[in-house]
């Protein structure tokens, strides 16, 4: 199942890039460039061949690991992607970790103390969190913690402290969404009959919540977390731009700025592939955790 989906995604990426109106060669070298230069670029990118032949070359390269060369510094696209991927993965996973750490206690608290002040307060914060643009949150965090308080570095990737602000920026929306999911899922469980039974048997409330309800509520939560890792990868484009984080996202934006199409194509393919693979693995995990699920 994973192969046809990956193939379709690659096909969409290819046709998105190659069927869009406008001549890419003009965009790369400018309309006034010499015809010979235009022809050279066109033949390097195989743009002088029919689209279907280009598609064949593209697919062959995809499988054999030849993703083309950068127009900017002539290095293989795949090498550049390899250099950048770990930084993006690190950022995405830290963001996810922080989001889980904040959201799950918040959601459980809101569900247990349903309709209380804590419930309304945390759900209000969550709705606000979903609505905060991360390209606004990032600069505000920089102003607050790097400029006014001055305890965290603004940019760069290396030290441990430099990852804190980017991962909060990236993870805030996920945390907000996750806490709402956790609350809904916990409320669902608390309402079920086995909880009533457990209460009737006189089991302590603490045990009921954590040992019984939470354990069962965890399944949908794991799914959402997994599905969102893919979305986080896509969200790094903005976060990496704000914090000059040396990952795939900033490579993508730099390459768009330089009209370096082979690299742009590579970045988009890599992020989409990771997204698909993560989503499918989550599906498998879900079935593993909950044998009732059959799809």
């Amino acid at each position: 199942m994973i192969i046809p989906i990956l193939l379709s995604v690659a096909t969409i990426v290819f046709f998105l890039i190659h069927v869009i109106p406008g001549d890419p060669v003009d965009l790369i070298v400018g309309e006034q460039a010499l015809t010979t230069d235009k022809a050279r670029i066109a033949s390097e990118l195989n743009l002088d061949k029919p689209v279907i032949v280009q598609y064949g070359i593209f697919l062959k390269g995809l499988v054999t690991g030849d993703w083309g060369r950068s127009l900017f510094d002539r290095r293989p696209v795949l090498t550049q992607l390899k250099e950048r991927f770990s930084a993006t993965a690190l950022l995405a996973f830290t963001a996810m970790f922080i989001a889980v750490l904040v959201a799950i206690p918040m959601g459980v608290l809101a569900a247990v103390k349903r309709n209380s002040f804590w419930d309304s307060a945390s759900m209000f914060i969550a709705l606000v969190g979903i609505s905060v643009p991360n390209f606004w949150l990032g600069p505000v965090l920089i102003l607050l913690f790097s400029v006014y308080i001055g305890i965290l570095p603004i940019a760069g990737g290396g030290s441990l402290s430099s990852i804190i602000l980017p991962s909060i920026t990236l993870g805030a929306a996920l945390a907000a969404m996750l806490s709402r999911m956790t609350r809904a899922s916990m409320i669902e469980e608390i309402k079920s009959e086995y909880i009533t039974t457990a209460r009737a048997k006189g089991i302590s409330e603490r045990k009921i919540i954590f040992k019984h309800a939470f354990k069962n509520a965890l399944n949908p939560i794991i799914t959402i977390v997994g599905l969102q890792v893919g979305a986080l990868l896509a969200g790094t484009v903005i976060t990496e731009k704000i914090f000059s984080w040396p990952g795939i996202g900033s490579l993508l934006m730099d390459s768009i700025g330089r009209r370096d199409y082979p690299v742009v194509e590579g970045c988009i393919l890599l992020i989409s592939f990771s997204y698909v693979i993560i989503n499918m693995s989550v599906d498998l995990l879900y079935r593993f955790f909950d044998p009732r699920v059959k799809l």
């Binding site: 869009i20 643009p133 606004w136 600069p139 896509a234």
Partner: protein, 267 residues
């Protein structure tokens, strides 16, 4: 009883619409006039939100920016909802091979991170408002089509649809006279959340420099410009962001309230 958040959401949206429509009447200055003597000035008398890199009045640019956000939002959500509803109705009602093809195509679309899709297309097009609308609608229809298909499948087995079929009414009449009116609630809820989503994605694209043309007063583009001068003029990035947040929050609040009303079984 209507929750207070729903009322606030509705109030924000009414205000947004008013501001967008009356922009020339309420903007204190021309949004594109340079006041080079006031470059980077913070909020002061007559220029309540301060001035940007060219000394343009930030308040007036924000007021005109409401038109950009709302206009793109309405266009994209309108196109997506209409196209998505028609496709979803057909796929759900006809079923069979049409439905299978529909499911495969939408699955492929959904297996793509939506924002990246927009970045990928925008990277190869010149920035223009029309292009933004096309890009966002290209993927936007999928969500409402899946929603309408699901609703159609549920309604299909109901007696009124069966009896309609029995007396031989046309498909068109079935779609628009019988099926669609019965799912208008979930569609409206979806419209509200989609507006929030589209406004967020549009400003994100504009922040990346892939959205509206340069000098168009878009809130996202204003933040992009503002972050380049974050240390000298923080108001340039902070103030437009508050407006994006308020508008997105407004649509989310409203959607939440509408969902409670139309689909009480939901969260």
């Amino acid at each position: 009883m209507t929750k207070w958040t729903t009322k606030i959401g509705a109030a924000i949206i009414v205000l947004l619409v008013l501001v967008a429509f009356c922009a020339p009447l309420i903007a204190p200055h021309d949004p594109n006039t340079y006041h080079l003597d006031m470059k980077f000035d913070g909020p002061h008398w007559g220029y309540w939100f301060g001035n940007d890199v060219d000394g343009r009045d930030l308040l007036s640019r924000i007021i005109y920016g409401a038109r950009v956000s709302l206009g793109i939002g309405v266009a994209v959500v309108g196109i997506s909802t209409i196209v998505g509803s028609v496709i979803g109705l057909i796929a759900g009602y006809k079923g069979g091979i049409i439905d299978h093809i529909f499911l495969f195509i939408t699955d492929v679309f959904l297996s793509f991170p939506g924002f990246l899709f927009a970045v990928a297309v925008a990277a190869f097009l010149s920035p223009s408002i029309l292009n933004i609308i096309i890009i966002l609608s290209l993927k936007g229809w999928v969500g409402s089509a899946r929603l309408v298909r699901g609703q159609t499948l549920a309604l299909k087995e109901r007696e009124f649809v069966l009896s309609g079929r029995a007396i031989g009414i046309s498909n068109l009449r079935m779609y628009f006279k019988h099926l669609l009116p019965n799912m208008i609630g979930p569609i409206i809820v979806n419209v509200s959340f989609s507006m929030a989503g589209v406004i967020m994605v549009e400003s994100s694209l504009s922040f990346l420099g892939l959205g509206v043309p340069i000098n168009t007063p878009s809130w996202g583009a204003m933040i992009d410009q503002g972050t380049q001068y974050l240390l000298i003029a923080p108001h340039l990035s902070i103030i437009p962001g508050i407006f994006i947040m308020l508008v997105v929050l407004g649509f989310n609040f409203l959607g939440d309230g509408l969902r409670d009303r139309f689909a009480p079984k939901g969260r």
